[in-house]
């Protein structure tokens, strides 16, 4: 057999292999929809209010708040921005509108929202007292000085968390961490996922909202899986007097090392 025939066949063979590998690579790419189904849609009343407050309030505290709440690394806890100085009445009417437009809220949902608004009012009253201390540093951790589920700001430079809340958050984080296994291939990767969970009084997780995706489907899914696995969490301490609590967790692959 002549040499050029060998070269020709070698090129054909190589091209065939490349085609086969490409063919085996392409069809699987469409299978990433499961994640979208898992990321549950929720009415984020607090987020809406925070965003609105930032644009309209114009006060010192609102300026310091970033658009998206991102938790500070050491605490692994984030809180949704809350209106600190903004008139509560305006926030209430706005949130109701948005909720109605997006979700066609049922009566039950509305009553829940009203409960939350009442909670927020209480907290806003509380924070109004300490706004001169907390507002200015709110931007650092990106969390603001207060949150609906967690009335005491800490990363934002506000009033530190009271021991009961701290203990509760740490309990939850320990439970999540102990159940979480970083998928093998992602272990050494620089990934970060921020998840906001809403916990009911009895510890049930009623809402999981992915605030920031890592871009790695398996990694994000492992986090959602673990959050479903740890449900129910310990109930919210009665001393906190809250029906719901929203907590944000930042998941880094290095957390388990």
């Amino acid at each position: 057999m002549r040499e050029e025939a060998w070269y020709k066949m070698l090129i054909i063979s190589f091209a065939l292999h490349v085609l086969i590998i490409a063919a085996f690579s392409i069809p699987f790419k469409g299978s990433s929809k499961r994640f979208d189904a898992l990321s549950s849609y929720s009415v984020n009343l607090v987020g809406e209010l925070g965003g609105r407050g930032g644009s309209t309030g114009g006060g010192h505290a609102e300026k310091a708040l970033p658009e998206k709440p991102v938790p500070a690394a050491p605490a692994r806890v984030t809180k949704r921005p809350a209106p600190i100085r903004k008139p509560v009445k305006e926030a209430v009417s706005l949130s109701k509108k948005k909720v109605a437009a997006r979700e066609k809220t049922t009566k039950e949902e509305l009553s829940r929202l009203e409960d939350r608004i009442r909670d927020m009012k209480k907290r806003a009253d509380y924070l109004d007292v300490s706004k001169t201390k907390t507002g200015g540093a709110g931007g650092k951790g990106g969390t603001g000085a207060g949150a609906p589920g967690l009335p005491f700001g800490s990363e934002g430079g506000g009033k530190p968390l009271d021991p009961a809340t701290q203990r509760y958050i740490l309990d939850i984080w320990d439970k999540v961490k102990s159940a979480w296994g970083v998928p093998g291939m992602t272990y050494k990767k620089d990934l970060e996922t921020i998840v906001i969970i809403k916990i009911r009084k009895d510890g049930r997780i009623v809402d999981i909202n992915v605030e920031k995706r890592s871009g790695n489907r398996i990694y994000d899914e492992s986090i959602l899986r673990v959050l479903r696995a740890v449900d129910p969490l310990p109930p919210i301490p009665a001393s906190l007097n809250m029906d719901y609590m929203e907590l944000g967790f930042r998941f880094l692959p290095g957390d388990l090392s």
């Binding site: 025939a5 066949m9 054909i12 790419k29 299978s31 990433s32 093998g184 272990y187 790695n216 398996i218």
Partner: protein, 225 residues
């Protein structure tokens, strides 16, 4: 799309290869090379054997038609690059050699000599047609083991990570094993076509050799006429 932007969990083959460890990557590269070469051999042999078989058909057709050796060699002179022509050429060389020695009585002594010459030619042709076929056998035998080596190494790595992290969660173990198993899958993907092709070409080669032996008998008959 660069490799860095490749979503490694999209589930594709490329992403699995990309996310594999260095040993697994080396194993897969070796298997890829084995596979490419074995497929090249398959294509070349397919053409080569096909052509030889067609030439065999043509030879028998010509041999039935030709009543003398001279006529046969005239028919074949236009296509010298094939195994059956080499048989005729071997006979021709022996005959011309005897004629140069001015031996008037060629026929009684020349037949065993031509027989030997034909046997040698058949053997040479067999070697030529069989060349590189052994690589298919090597691929068929070695590839699964090479792939298995990659898998064993990957699983070792997975278990080590389980030990380091202290968790046996499926989410930790499964991706490592999935990575590891791709090496075995590639080994099998290289080996299975090689086994099938080796058996197929071996059978075909046997048929060609058998036809060449028949052709040599035909030639002796023609010379003896």
């Amino acid at each position: 799309m660069g490799f860095s932007s490749l979503n490694m969990y999209s589930g594709g083959l490329l992403s699995l290869i990309y996310s594999a460890g260095p040993v697994a990557k080396a194993v897969m590269l070796i298997l890829f090379i084995f596979s490419v070469i074995s497929w090249t051999i398959m294509f070349v042999k397919f053409r080569q054997y096909g052509r030889t078989e067609r030439e065999g058909e043509r030879f028998f057709h010509a041999a039935r038609e030709a009543d003398s050796f001279k006529k046969l060699i005239t028919i074949y002179r236009d296509n010298p690059d094939n195994s059956f022509y080499r048989l005729i050429l071997a006979c021709y060389k022996e005959i011309t050699k005897r004629q140069k020695e001015n031996n008037p009585d060629i026929k009684p002594g020349i037949v065993p000599i031509i027989e030997n010459a034909l046997k040698i030619t058949i053997s040479e042709e067999s070697t030529r047609l069989e060349r590189r076929l052994s690589f298919l056998a090597t691929t068929a035998n070695a590839s699964p083991f090479i792939g298995l080596f990659g898998t064993v190494w990957g699983i070792m790595d997975s278990f080590r990570e389980i030990g380091v992290r202290g968790t046996t969660s499926l989410a930790v173990v499964a991706p490592g094993i999935s990575e590891a198993l791709i090496a075995t899958a590639m080994g099998l993907a290289a080996a299975i076509p090689a086994v099938l092709a080796y058996n197929y070409f071996s059978g075909r080669l046997k048929r060609i050799m058998s036809r060449m032996e028949n052709a040599s008998l035909y030639l002796i008959n023609i010379i003896e006429k």
